[in-house]
């Protein structure tokens, strides 16, 4: 899952997947602004077939949190 998340982030932010660290955030990735955050959410939703809540969208502010959020949503979907 993590390589797929990194691949999506790389496409949205125009960076190499290898540059993405656990604590990568809007503070460390220049292109990560509010509009590209929106794009990131939409692209991740398409990639994993999930839908984030308003709270998840707002809180997902580092790579680590993205992984946790997506994993949680994918697990939920599998259970259902």
């Amino acid at each position: 899952m993590e390589p797929r998340i990194k691949a999506v982030m790389a496409q949205i932010f125009g960076i190499a997947a290898g540059e993405i660290q656990d604590d990568s955030s809007p503070d460390t990735i220049a292109k990560w602004d509010s509009v590209s955050h929106m794009n990131l959410v939409i692209a991740l939703e398409a990639e994993f077939g999930v839908e984030l809540s308003e709270e998840q969208i707002s809180e997902m502010a580092t790579y680590r949190l993205i992984v946790l959020t997506i994993r949680e949503l994918v697990d939920e979907r599998v259970k259902r």
Partner: protein, 590 residues
């Protein structure tokens, strides 16, 4: 540039990450594209997610986009402040992107919608005199849900329709300047699930999902194409399994499928109706088919359900030669650029052959899922123009007259004898207000006989007409075979004793008849009568399309003085100029 086009062809617009990624790599090569289009957004919502889609569709059209966004909710200030971003960027298109609050919130405030409409009308009124851009104004979208929705007759159920009519009214008063965008219809196409993101509406006032943004971007790109002379002018179509189902040679006129009341005939019937409508709008229709010419023409003429008639065709090649050669011959006969041509065929091999040999031609293949065929013909708006003039509507008829003219050419000993027999009349005069639309359109659409290829909007032409140091002339032409209408534009700037020819263009429909000489000489003489001119200056700005006029100024007696930025600078003193001879054309002035 064509390699750029190729790299875009496979991008899936339903996959946001691919779109963003593709646009990023296109941006790095944007320097290879010479034609720029500047688009500015005035908005009251977060419309930025539109940007990658819009850029993709503009790159697809061979345009380099420069896109800017006004401050959120500061529309009026931007319009009124002369040094705002809006005015500094000098956009060709201004998109007025607004939604009213009650669109997605079931509060159904009639008053809020009223205020929004007043704001929009005021914005349009303020923008028109302050810019020369084309305005694309969103119509208001009816509230998706109403707080008291069961009473569908109440004003709160649909507060927008009546007010949208007001915006449409403003648009119809300035038809080529204000283009209403019917977002509600685009939403109808994708539906609420794929169109609206309520999370982002409430989180950041960004209501639209990628599918809707993609359609919205396509609408803007259509206008961009129309404004930059990218409107297709001609559709060349195959016949078997394109105009009708089945094979005319094998099945005969009674066996092919074209009956409007049964599948699949109804689909072909509808396709023919669409093609015929294109013809009425001024698009040249041409048939290209491997068939017996007499069979096809008789079929089109006599079949009760054929909507495309031989008289609507500007040309045809119905024979057994290879398709690409036939298409190339048609392009030459019709004297248009390959990039103005759409080719329509059901056969994958033919499509590939034509695309391979004539990469500038836009190839459409009749889809295997036939029910999507009629939609394919219209969805990209390939033939859309921003302002439709009388000339467009008359064009096919004029081409029929051209066919007569070229047939007439064979009866004379030499070309001079032919010219004498034509009894050509060139009418040259300063552009009257009612012709501004056609003149602007000629500057936007003419590529081949165009010395400087400067594109002007209607507003810019109006401004030039009002300028005492500028003369804008038009040429209309008639001869014994018919009237070719308004087909030439010349714009001259006067600065002291120097007159500079800013624009000189002729529609390719009238080339090869010395009219260009008559027109140039008459404009020059008119300016010399009115102003004290000592020096004439003129420019030739080379493009990929206008090589044929590289030597034109020399024919008019100008000498090349130098080159600036690839543009050749021609000058001549009035007293030294050798006038060119355009006899036997009769010139009428005024």
């Amino acid at each position: 540039v064509s390699s750029i086009q190729e790299s875009i062809r496979g991008v899936r617009t339903d996959h946001l990450a691919s779109v963003i990624d593709a646009v990023r790599s296109l941006e790095q090569r944007a320097g290879e594209i010479s034609d720029t289009i500047r688009i500015h957004f005035l908005r009251n919502y977060t419309v930025e997610p539109l940007e990658p889609f819009l850029k993709l569709h503009l790159y697809r059209s061979g345009l380099r986009p420069v896109i800017s966004f006004g401050d959120y909710g500061a529309m009026r200030q931007e319009v009124l402040a002369v040094d705002s971003l809006l005015h500094r960027t000098r956009p060709e298109i201004i998109v007025v992107a607004t939604v009213q609050d009650s669109f997605l919130s079931p509060v159904a405030s009639v008053q809020e919608v009223d205020e929004h409409a007043v704001m929009l009308a005021g914005l349009i009124a303020d923008l028109l005199p302050r810019t020369s851009a084309t305005l694309m104004v969103n119509l208001m979208m009816p509230p998706l849900r109403s707080a008291n929705g069961i009473d569908t007759t109440s004003k709160t159920y649909d507060p927008v329709s009546a007010l949208n009519a007001v915006i449409m009214g403003a648009a119809s008063e300035a038809p080529s300047r204000v283009i209403p965008v019917d977002l509600a219809r685009l939403l109808q196409i994708v539906g609420e699930n794929d169109g609206i993101d309520y999370r982002y509406w409430y989180l950041s006032r960004s209501p639209f999902k990628p599918k809707l943004l993609d359609l919205y971007a396509r609408e803007i790109a259509k206008v961009g194409r129309a404004l930059t002379g990218r409107t297709k002018k001609c559709i060349i179509f195959d016949c078997d399994n394109t105009l009708w189902g089945g094979n005319l040679g094998d099945d005969g006129p009674a066996g092919i499928q074209l009956e409007p009341h049964a599948y699949p005939g109804c689909v072909y019937y509808e396709a023919q109706q669409i093609l015929a409508e294109f013809g009425r709008r001024g698009v040249m229709l041409a048939a290209c088919s491997k068939n017996d010419e007499r069979d096809v023409l008789a079929m089109l003429e006599n079949h009760p359900y054929s909507r495309v008639k031989p008289a609507m065709l500007s040309a045809w090649r119905i024979n057994w030669n290879d398709k690409a050669a036939n298409v190339a011959a048609l392009i030459e006969e019709l004297r248009i650029g390959a990039d103005r041509v759409v080719f329509l065929d059901d056969d994958a091999h033919e499509c590939e052959l034509v695309q391979g040999l004539l990469p500038d031609v836009r190839v459409l293949r009749v889809p295997e899922r036939l029910s999507t065929y009629p939609r394919l013909l219209v969805e990209d708006g390939l033939f859309d123009t921003v302002s439709r003039s009388q000339e467009d509507v008359r064009r096919p008829q004029m081409l029929a007259e051209d066919r007569l003219r070229s047939r007439a050419r064979a009866q004379f000993a030499d070309i001079d004898e032919y010219f004498v027999s034509l009894k050509q009349v060139a009418r040259v005069r300063r552009v009257p207000p009612e012709n501004v639309s056609r003149v602007a359109q000629l500057t936007q659409k003419t590529n081949q006989f165009n010395l400087t290829t400067r594109r002007y909007s209607e507003a810019e032409i109006c401004r030039l007409l009002d300028d005492g140091q500028v003369r804008v002339f038009e040429l209309s032409v008639s001869d014994r075979l018919g009237d070719s209408g308004l087909t030439g534009v010349c714009i001259v700037h006067i600065d002291g004793d120097t007159a500079t020819i800013d624009t000189f263009l002729l529609s390719c429909r009238i080339l090869g008849r010395r009219l260009e000489l008559a027109f140039a000489e008459t404009c020059i003489a008119a300016v010399e009568r009115e102003f004290h001119i000592r020096i004439w200056q003129a420019w030739y700005r080379p493009t990929t399309k206008n090589a044929q006029v590289a030597g034109f100024w020399e024919r008019i007696g100008f000498h090349k003085a130098g080159t600036v930025d690839r543009a050749a600078d021609y000058r001549i003193a009035v007293s030294d100029r050798q006038r060119s001879d355009y006899a036997p054309i009769h010139v009428e002035e005024g």
